[in-house]
Symmetry: C2
Subunit: 346 residues, 2 copies
DNA sequence: GGCCGGTGAGTAACCAGTTTCTAACATCGC
DNA sequence: GCGATGTTAGAAACTGGTTACTCACCGGCC
């Protein structure tokens, strides 16, 4: 069994071989071109004040020797990594995947690399990973639904430049891009009560999730609602497993924490022979790509997922350039009525 | 409009401020503790041969000054980055997402960071990104369905340690983890012909994809098959849009390039009022998590997606430790018969 | 008591770049 | 023709760590 299989954290140890197979260094290029290291550096970085003939000689030597500047040495000398980091709780969640994609594209466009870390939903791990990632990058985008406000505030300056997504932390000096969960829930409930529903079941998200807390609180704040809260989770399986409980509680509509549990419920209800939306209506949250393709198509709350990644990059870029990161944004979600909701059975 | 929005590749320029807000360096810690830099280094790296009292003094000083060793300096001195890189063509594809997840977890366990780059399906970009990523990491996992064999062979030594996933390149000295596409297709076809189907439609993947080419070739190699090839793609939308063509061509079964196009077809057929599997059977490929939750549940070919990420890490780890990376593996996929396939209409 | 071996810590070289400073040289104006 | 000015390229300092080498000191043994 190898160290990797045992899950050990082998520390970084000194280089094994004498050196990576005679990779050319700036000194070698300088020597070959008969110039100083400074001149090679200037040529490689496109400084104009170099004699064209010299520059050509340097370029020829670099090509000849297959010279590639050492990224590590540049990092040290420049004090910049050319990298940004993203820390998310769970890479299997489409919500974070879309942030990842948006950020990856935007960073790629700007010629920056992207470091990705997954905290696996552990709030303590989240913070440690974030620090670790930040030390290897020039900036950080953090999606941290679990870590407490205080913890994040305490670490704020160590993490800056920092952009928060799907989360707002009062008193933390970092721009945040979040979703107005209460508004989304309000739209869902208005839609359902408009259809005559009075008894709603909320299929909860993972306990401890900030998003789940907000959505649940929003539901509870709505007057004259007969609300049953069922334990759920964030995955298909959780929704699928909850179908029985949904039927049992007698609610006419299920409000899913997200689209995945909602899809799971959809499948579970179908297996139980419960017509949707004939007998039970189902709603999701997020509008993941798949929501459009369930049977029936899922009524859900659309949030600008790709937008979040792109905007996160913009904010981070500003901060890294010493500019202001701008204000917090709470995106207003939009209800998408599809086939999974219908009139309450009379 | 900012540089980021215009998509410019702003070069890395020298550090702006005098230095990152007085971050403590090893020299400062050494001075504070009244020891040499070497001793601080030894303490930070857990060398045993340090007087416990001195070590305590160093640790106290480090704590006092909030000292964190510079990652950049360590990279340079050690010649190691503590990072591995993953390059994939498309982060929205669940196939690559699962490799990402597997690799992310495994690398995290081993205390290594993960650099992710997305080539956006451009074969030339793929290669450039791979080189760039490799320069900032100790090893590379590459999923490159587009780049040619020759190109990869030419760059092989510059990319090593390298592990290929979903791809095999003859003559390239790098372990590869791939899927036996032909075997998967054979199982699908055996299943369908066993149900009495003779006329099959293949809903193709993106042109230029190595996986698509293999699957198509496998289909064409099967004798006595009435095969219609329809242009498709890799996303829901492509499958959805092809539903009409599927009905039109009169095939009794659709073999989808992957689960997403198959799901799209499923929805499209439902909208057209075509019963599945009553009138048309549908199969997918990959067994993404969602396949279990379509209506009807998708008959598909299961491939060990998570396994690929984990194994890729193991191979890479071995290579990075100077060991043998092991042999190429072709995973044998397994047919999962669910509800979307049935007897051919008579 | 002197010699030897082992241990612990400091000195200095090294990783591979970037950048400031400086000196040489060319150009221009007077 | 000479001083002022501007440009170019090199020398050297600097980024912040790690580590080979060295040396002082201590204890044990003869």
């Amino acid at each position: 069994m190898s160290a990797a299989e045992r899950g050990e954290q082998a520390p970084l140890t000194g280089r094994r071989g004498p050196r990576p197979a005679g990779q050319a260094t700036i000194s070698r290029v300088a020597e070959a071109a008969g110039v100083s290291r400074a001149t090679v550096s200037r040529v490689m970085n496109g400084s104009t004040s170099v004699n064209p003939e010299l520059a050509a000689r340097v370029r020829a030597a670099a090509l000849e020797l297959d010279y590639e500047p050492s990224a590590a040495a540049r990092r040290l000398a420049l004090g910049l990594t050319g990298t940004v980091a993203l820390v998310v709780p769970d890479l299997s969640n489409p919500l974070f995947q879309s942030v990842l994609r948006g950020l990856s594209r935007a960073a790629g466009q700007a010629g920056r690399q992207l470091l990705v870390a997954e905290s696996d939903e552990d709030p303590e791990e989240e913070v440690i990973l974030a620090l670790e990632a930040r030390r290897n990058a020039d900036g950080l985008v953090l999606a941290s639904p679990r870590a407490t406000d205080e913890r994040l505030r305490a670490l704020g300056d160590r993490l800056a430049p920092l952009v928060l997504v799907y989360r707002e932390v009062p008193g933390l000096d970092a721009p945040s891009l979040s979703i107005d969960n209460a508004a989304g829930i309000a739209q869902v409930v208005t839609h359902l009560t408009g259809l005559g529903h009075r008894h709603l079941a909320y299929l909860a998200g993972p306990p401890g999730s900030a998003g789940n807390a907000e959505r649940l609180a929003a539901l509870r704040a709505i007057p004259d609602l007969d609300l049953t809260v069922l334990p759920g989770g964030s995955m298909f399986e959780h929704g699928h497993a909850a179908a029985g409980a949904v039927v049992e509680c007698g609610a006419g509509a299920v409000v899913g924490f997200n689209d995945m549990v909602a899809s799971g419920v959809l499948t579970g209800l179908r297996e139980l022979g419960v017509p949707v939306p004939g007998r039970v209506s189902v709603t999701g949250f997020d509008d993941i790509p798949f929501a459009r393709y369930t049977t029936p198509p899922l009524t859900t709350v659309s949030i600008p997922q790709g937008e979040l990644g792109r905007r996160a990059w913009e904010r981070l870029w500003s901060l890294m350039n010493g500019e202001d990161g701008g204000y917090n944004v709470r995106y207003q979600p939009r209800l998408l009525v599809r086939g999974s909701t219908g009139p309450a059975p009379s």
